[in-house]
């Protein structure tokens, strides 16, 4: 009665009997592979990664870690249960393959035996609906608490040099600008000073930042200090940076922002309160135009001729490259009210609209260029030892130390080659200015003197 | 007599379908024809289209330049009320056309069909007129966000009405060729469904856009 019907046999089932044995042998091989992967996994995790999200150095990132660690554990348990169940069920209820010469029935079943035809189990269904619901509800309460805590940007002011300090973080293609408001943005006409690519904060203190953008979306992210916050043109979003350690923390723009998105990085540097005071005092210093005979006078002239139409050096540059040097202060930069409310179209105010119109309308302020450890979206290091020195609390000593002259020269020689941008056609990023080597030399000397 | 074509309904079978044959009740599981069901399903989807456009308008209606005229100054409520009323009436006439067709009163049906199309055309004409007035007053498509989203929303609706008019007119032509009879009254019913939908959408737009410009 159990007639073999050849045409019901699975293609290749018979021949695969031997193959099955091969698979058994393969099992050991798979276990080995898994072991190798596990080892690699552990070593890989331990390797030094400056953007590591699991290595918090600030209060906020710590809070996030305290949320995610137990969740990873729960997910791990569910993972083990489900994978275990799949493997166990597959092993336990697998049917015997028909032996050589044995007749198979209906393409593989050795006999007509059926398991019990269970259609369902109401209580079980309710159980595995309610169970995860309760679990998720518990996680939800836990998680919403953490979220509200994270989004609380109104922490009480700390004992600090500038307890009210806030920073407007402006993203543009493809670098960051930081506008410092030492007494807070409320009521401020203009920032106290402006810097680029490296946000410097006093250690321990909660610094409220507001992210926004001049062109497309960007996202501000210093993983070791906090999660990320998008920079949205036309909006400002509050966020907090706080560091428990002195050091330099890497960041990366994480919202796709066009061509050079990969090259749009940043650092947060945390200093002691005293160092921070020193640093702000220095940043607020405007420069005097150099006189003939001063060191770097030629450099400054080349700069005014070639660069000042985009870049600002407080006290030195003016928008008008043909005329005499006028004092140009922060007026170039809009104040926060404009960033908060662009409905009247003021975004373009203070923009450079010269021949090589920049889409974002801004270039990094270079007044204290040499105090920054990196440049051009922090993609290039100005000082090779920056990381070690900053981590050791010697960030302020960087200016005047050994710097990477070659890279800076290359940048001035042809910046679109060093960092992809869309010059000249699309007017984004710094153009190739076709400078002579002599001018480049002068400029590098000048730039490195801007401490 | 069983009709095979009803068993494997195709859109094109509408012309040959006999609606008085219910012997094969499994033909359409729900007892509604595929065509009609299809129209209902499509209209469900269209709701979301207008939903998206209306939300966009709601978000943007106040975003105008400091010197631009806003919705309050722009709209001529009495004028639009009249044209809305005209469109509303066309829902009535299309119903009259369908009932006339059911009674196999082709002549009346034709009259109501034509008046529905004309009422629709008056509405579209009114919209075009309104657009030109706005344009002359300085609200172009690209002037500001209000203009952009207003013209897009009402323009999409206008296109819907126009498509409806084309469908009504093709029914009218079919009736001239003797192809529209009580036998295939469903075709008209389906177009009627569409027409009512476009009307209802207009009521929503009129209320939201014109009556509550705040």
């Amino acid at each position: 009665m159990m007639k073999t019907r050849d045409n019901y046999d699975l293609a290749g089932l018979r021949e695969s009997t031997g193959h099955e044995m091969g698979l058994k042998r393969n099992h050991r091989w798979i276990v080995m592979l898994l072991a190798v992967i596990a080892v690699l996994f552990i070593t890989g995790c331990a390797s030094n990664a400056p953007l590591d999200t699991l290595d918090p150095a600030g209060r906020k990132s710590n809070d996030i870690n305290n949320l995610i660690n137990p969740i990873f554990v729960i997910a791990g348990v569910v993972f083990v249960i489900i994978q275990g169940a799949v493997l166990y069920l597959g092993w336990k209820f697998k049917v015997r393959e028909p032996k050589e010469g044995e007749e198979s029935f209906d393409g593989g079943y050795p006999d007509e035996e059926f398991p019990e035809q269970v259609h369902g189990h109401f209580a079980a269904e309710i159980g595995w609906t309610i169970g995860p619901t309760i679990l998720m509800a518990a996680i939800a309460i836990f998680s919403v608490g953490a979220l509200l805590n994270l989004d609380d940007v109104d922490a009480a002011p700390d004992e600090a040099v500038y307890p009210e300090m806030e920073v407007l973080v402006v993203g543009q293609q493809w670098w960051w600008e930081f506008q410092y408001y030492l007494d807070g943005v409320d009521g401020a006409e203009q920032p106290d000073f402006v810097t680029a690519n490296e946000i410097v904060i006093p250690v321990g203190q909660d610094i409220r930042i507001h992210t926004t953008s001049r062109d497309v979306l960007h996202s501000f992210w210093i993983p070791r200090l906090n999660g990320k916050k998008d920079s949205v043109p036309g909006r400002t979003s509050p966020w907090v940076l706080q560091s428990n350690e002195i050091g330099r923390f890497a960041g990366q723009c994480t919202e796709f922002c066009g061509l050079s998105h990969a090259y749009m990085r940043m650092y947060a540097v945390s200093l002691t309160q005293e160092d921070f005071q020193t640093w702000t005092d220095n940043q607020m210093r405007t420069r005097e135009p150099l006189q003939e005979g001063d060191e770097n006078y030629e450099g400054e002239q080349v700069f005014l001729l070639n660069c000042a139409r985009c870049h600002v050096i407080n006290g030195v540059t003016s928008r008008d490259i043909s005329g005499s040097v006028e004092l140009d202060t922060m007026a170039l930069y809009g104040n926060i009210e404009e960033y908060r409310n662009h409905a009247d179209g003021t975004l373009s105010q203070g923009k450079y609209t010269g021949p090589e119109n920049l889409t974002a309308g801004a270039a990094p302020n270079l007044t204290h260029f040499a105090t920054r450890s990196s440049y051009a979206g922090s993609f290039f290091q100005l000082y090779p030892d920056a990381q070690e020195m900053a981590d050791a609390g010697n960030y302020l000593e960087l200016a005047g130390s050994d710097y990477a002259r070659g890279t800076l020269e290359a940048w001035l020689r042809n910046s679109p080659k060093e960092k992809p941008n869309a010059q000249p056609e699309q007017a984004r990023g710094m153009p190739n200015l076709n400078l002579s080597e002599a001018d480049i030399d002068l400029l590098v000397d000048y730039l490195i003197s801007l401490d | 007599m069983e009709i095979v074509l009803r068993r494997f309904p195709l859109t094109e079978t509408a012309t040959t379908e006999t609606s008085n044959d219910h012997s094969e009740d499994h033909v359409s599981t729900l007892g509604v024809s595929n065509d009609k069901l299809g129209m209902w399903v499509f209209l469900g989807s269209d709701c979301l289209l207008f939903g998206g456009l209306i939300s966009t308008y709601m978000l943007y209606k106040d975003r105008i330049g400091p010197d631009d005229l806003g919705p309050e100054e722009m709209f001529d409520i009495p004028f639009t009320s009249v044209s809305s009323f005209v469109l509303l009436m066309s829902s009535l006439t299309v119903v009259l056309a369908i009932t006339a067709l059911r009674r196999n009163d082709i002549r009346r049906c034709r009259i109501w069909l034509l008046s529905t199309a004309i009422l629709g055309a008056i509405f579209v004409g009114g919209q075009v007129y309104e657009f030109t007035v706005f344009y002359r007053e300085g609200l172009g498509y690209t002037t500001n966000l209000f203009g952009t989203s207003f013209f897009t929303l009402t323009g999409f609706h206008g296109v819907h009405v126009s498509v409806g008019i084309i469908m009504l007119m093709s029914m009218y032509i079919q009736s001239m060729r003797g192809k529209l009879t009580s036998e295939n009254e469903e075709k008209l019913e389906i177009i009627g469904l569409y027409w009512h939908f476009v009307d209802v959408v207009w009521i929503v737009i009129f209320t939201i856009v014109y009556l509550f410009p705040q």
Binding site: I64, S143, V216, G234, G345 | L37
Partner: protein, 676 residues
Amino acid sequence: MAVVEEEQAPLELESGEDQITERPLGAFTRPGGGGGWRSWLFTVDHKKIGIMYGAAGLLFFIIGGIYALFMRLQLARPNNSILSAETYNQVFTMHGVVMIFLAAIPLGAAFSNYLIPLQIGARDVAFPRLNAFSFWVFLGGGLFLLTSMFIGGWWENAPDGGWFAYSPNTGVLFSPSKGIDFFALGLQITGIASLVGAINLIVTVLNMRSPGMTLMKMPVLTWMLFIVQLLLLFAMPVISVALFLLTFDRLFDANFFNVAQGADPLLWQHLFWIFGHPEVYILILPSFGVISEIIPTFSRKPIFGYPFMIFSGIAIGFMGWGVWAHHMFASGIGPVAVAAFSVSTMFIAVPTGVKILNWLATMWGGRIRFTTPMLYATSVVAMFTIGGLSGVTHSLAAADTQQTDTYYIVAHFHYVIFGGIILGFFGGFYFWWPKMFGYFLSEKIGKSSFWVMVIGFNLTFGPMHILGLQGMSRRIQTYSEGQGFDLWNLVATIGAFLIAVATAMFIANVFISWRAHRAGKTPAPGPDPWDARSLEWMTASPVPEHNFDETIEVERQDEFWHRKWGKDETGRVVRRATAEEVAHDGSNTNVHLPSPSYWPIVAALGLPIIGYGLIYNLWLCVVGGLFVLGGLYGWVFEPVDDPNADGHHDHEAHGTSEETGAEEVDGNSSEEVSVD
């Protein structure tokens, strides 16, 4: 051993089917079938259309995979320069767009088209010509998108805004090439295809079920596909609106995303994700359905908790509409909104978990045959869960601020997409291949390619979890040494090539098995090679053009299985009939079928032409418009039937030579002709 007879539907042929034709209208005759390519171009047969969807989807999957391989090559080493930043941005955009819109959705549509009518016992879909239309529109739109790679220069005009194309980066100012225009118009065209297809299949499921096939007797696969169509129905108009706005901005200077005018870039994000999140369930539910057919079949048990499987599917479909902003946790939408969307997202784990556990319960106590389809199906249960769990870790909004836009997200969605969808679909291919083409795919190649694929897949995307948590941002063209990303990127690249090997093995399998079949080396599958449960197995393989010889009266869920198997007095399952005895042999020639039609493809062709017109020259729009209008005109006035139908419907190409097509009809008669 007495067989307890459950009530059985009579197996008698239906008779007295009448036929109406119309007098042919001049030029508007319908194509008369015939073999070869014409039988595919003008077909309105849901099975052929399903197969074409599948073939096109696979082709696009390979194209999208080749993009992926280039990305992986670029990322294998730090500071690599295989792709420039510009090209890389285009490549990952094309990869995402092609994979989601041209591979995953169409593969789902392939299963929907082929299987829904069969599983509900219908002869075809509700609107066969509309079905052909949606396929050609999809193909036209897809090819339109791909031509952006060549037109106006090699990789000059490919879209570069990422698959979700966030504004304002997609405005003309920031993306001046024509790429985004191709993106917006191409997706609008394929969107029309999805929308039309959804309407068609919804009506089919609601209205064309065979007698007795109530909603709660439909196979789980049909149910999931039905939910997918509803999701498409409501999601497609939303993305259409978004794409309209974008197109108007780019082509007609509208202001929707013009920040200088006060526009809000978040509008795009909301519109996109209101579509985009339901979209991910549009992608996954077909695969859930597929494995819900495979697992019971090879466990030799009915699906566990059928109603819960259905309701959890419905719940996923519903909840999917209320979670879209979990893609915007970092956008600055405010803590209240973030909290609400975070919580709603978490609870999607519940219905999904119900499904996972029901599959496991189906396997529990079964007699499991690990054929290739079953291997794939169980791997879906395992691999999808990994992706689901990382999804839950994203749903905690606070934690997501660290994860969003990193490779941890990339890992999540490839686990759910590749581990959930692609593996499931490959399982489906192996499962239904004998049904569709009348020959088995080799189990030997199948099993080994399965292992290569699963290992390659885990090597590719497993390390991405680590990369993401170590801070590797997505959509970056390169990374530096010293960021700690070197090792795992290399591993991922190796894994990606293993996936390519496995994919190539599948393709090779198709040809090798086909040749073996031709040479008579492998057994014919017969109607029911796997001892399966649903109606598509109740007819010959490959399925004859008319599907079933007679209407099937359905009495219970898994009707076909119950016709084969009964219970004796002790409750033991015993054979009641063999599959051949129950299944139709496809010999009924007395079935009227819709004739092929020229017009769907003509009308569909117009849409890409309009697309090019909008980008390059508005006059082309007129040409395209004429195609569409002409197509519709022909469509409307086409006679109901090919008046010269001589039974030569397009069979040969389908792999069978039986004559089962339309019956003889006197072409000159305008009377109703009775054929009995």
